[in-house]
Amino acid sequence: MTRTLAWARRAAGAAAGALAALALVSAAAAQEPTAEEQLASLAGALDTAWLLVTAFLVFFMQLGFAMVEAGFVRAKNVANILMKNILDCAMGGLAFFAVGWGLAYGVSGDSAGPFAGDGQFFLRGFDNWPSWIFQFAFAATAATIVSGAVAERTKFSAYLVYSAVITAFIYPVVVHWAWDSHGWLSAFRDDPIGANGYIDFAGSGVVHAVGGTAALVGAVMVGPRIGKFGPGRKVNVIPGHNITLAVLGMFVLWFGWYGFNPGSTLGLSGGLADLAAKVAVTTTLAAAAGGVAAALLTRALTGRYDLGLTVNGVLGGLVGITAGCAVVDAWAAIVIGAIGAGVVIGGVWLLDQLRVDDPVGAVSVHGFAGIWGVLAVGLFASEAGIAQAYGESDRYGLLLGGGAEQLGIQALGIAAIVAWTAVTAFVLFGALKLTIGLRVRPEEEERGLDVDEHGIEAYPDFGSSAQGLFVPVAHPGGAD
């Protein structure tokens, strides 16, 4: 009986090296694996390691979203938004297991169609674990974006249904289009649209614009919070309860983005390590540029360095670079990030004008900056960048002299994605509205969702002099 792991475990206990382990593996196999086979196996292990570690980082973004959103809502709705963040991730996991993966990448027969995968539901006949965990983390990201936009007024049960549907259906179909080698938009198709197909390296469109579009539809259909818009053109301000949490969340998201973008090389061997490193650099520069641009812009516009919009600006820079991180040069990443922040700030202003209430800026950050990111590929992708990540091509960024074709494909791709998401999200939210209802009652909204939906206050005993007023610290006799 082979005891590979036993040995490995023991190796941890004693001082045995990996040499022994390898030897054992060899011995276990009927015949010696060739050096080439061993090399390939090792390369595979390294690729898997990369997928796993970056998947974990992407998963960690769940915390970032939860904290940004919690910080941007009022104290009376904190437990509700946190619960939504936990549950969209948890429901998302189960939904992506049951259906999502199958629609995204599943193959039942020889190959899947251009519209959706068609096999491996419930992971039957499946063992590509590294890919599943990585793709799950992305799906959870797409799902969680909406919660912020519809915060402080949406029914919990309706949100649960929504989050299952987006991870099971709406998002996976887009993934299939753009990232599966059978997808009609895919750059990995044998015969892609145009020279390169739709280029969206880590998902400005596939993930963020999907989430952002669904968020917009949701925010419109749920309607604004009571008191957000006054009569006439009056826009009231409803500050969140804890800006520190929002900043905490932003740093966690930035950190997690190092899984999101560099991890999208899906491996390190065969030259991908260099690409991953370059992606890490462009990601960093875009985030930095987004932060600086937002700070200076708000200073110019309002006379003060605005912290909330700087948080959004960093995120806008990150969303903006996500599509092009592998194919643009460092300087272009800075430009894209800075414009991304501008798009976010403009978007926040625009939504206020349109009387759409998005408490955390999810539509602007993920939707508008996501669209910008996709288009930016058509403007800024360098020839060498495309060659390194997708193969040699003479169609690249318009502003770099690569013609307009790629920009056209990008526009087509994002239009299709936004349209698909808008329609399906509209149907979904519409159906919810007609059945269980989308929105809590006004009294409930005024009191806060925490008390009615979850029976809790987020900070029942807070404060420097908190006396636990609610707490029966002791009972002076009596039978009960």
Partner: protein
């Protein structure tokens, strides 16, 4: 001069304030307090176990006015704090013997 002390629903504060502003009241002081009268708390839960929250959040409002304007202020508060449900709150009125404005050291009605 009258010391008007009102305990009202938090959600009604903006309305009360707006009404007072129209009256041109001299100033006001507010604080977050908790209380219960006839309205006896709600049931919350912590890690699955339910308990009664005895005190509900209210806003405490202090306005000192001269005798002439007291009734107007009281009416404005009552009109705007009203919802008709238990928990609307109460107003307590008492006498103030003196008022001092720190900035000018004015005293009495002039200081209000």
């Amino acid at each position: 001069m009258k010391r008007i002390e009102a305990i009202i629903r938090p959600g009604r504060l903006p309305f009360v304030k707006e009404a007072l502003e129209e009256l041109g009241y001299p100033g006001m002081t507010i604080a977050e307090v908790k209380g219960h009268g006839k309205q006896r708390g709600i049931v919350e839960q912590w890690r699955g176990r339910q308990y009664k929250v005895e005190y509900l959040p209210k806003i405490w409002l202090l306005i000192v006015v001269d005798d002439a304007h007291a009734q107007q202020v009281i009416d404005a508060i009552v009109d705007n704090a009203y919802t008709g449900e238990i928990g609307d709150g109460k107003i307590f009125v008492s006498e103030v013997t003196d008022v001092i404005r720190v900035r000018t050291r004015e005293r009495g009605e002039a200081a209000i």
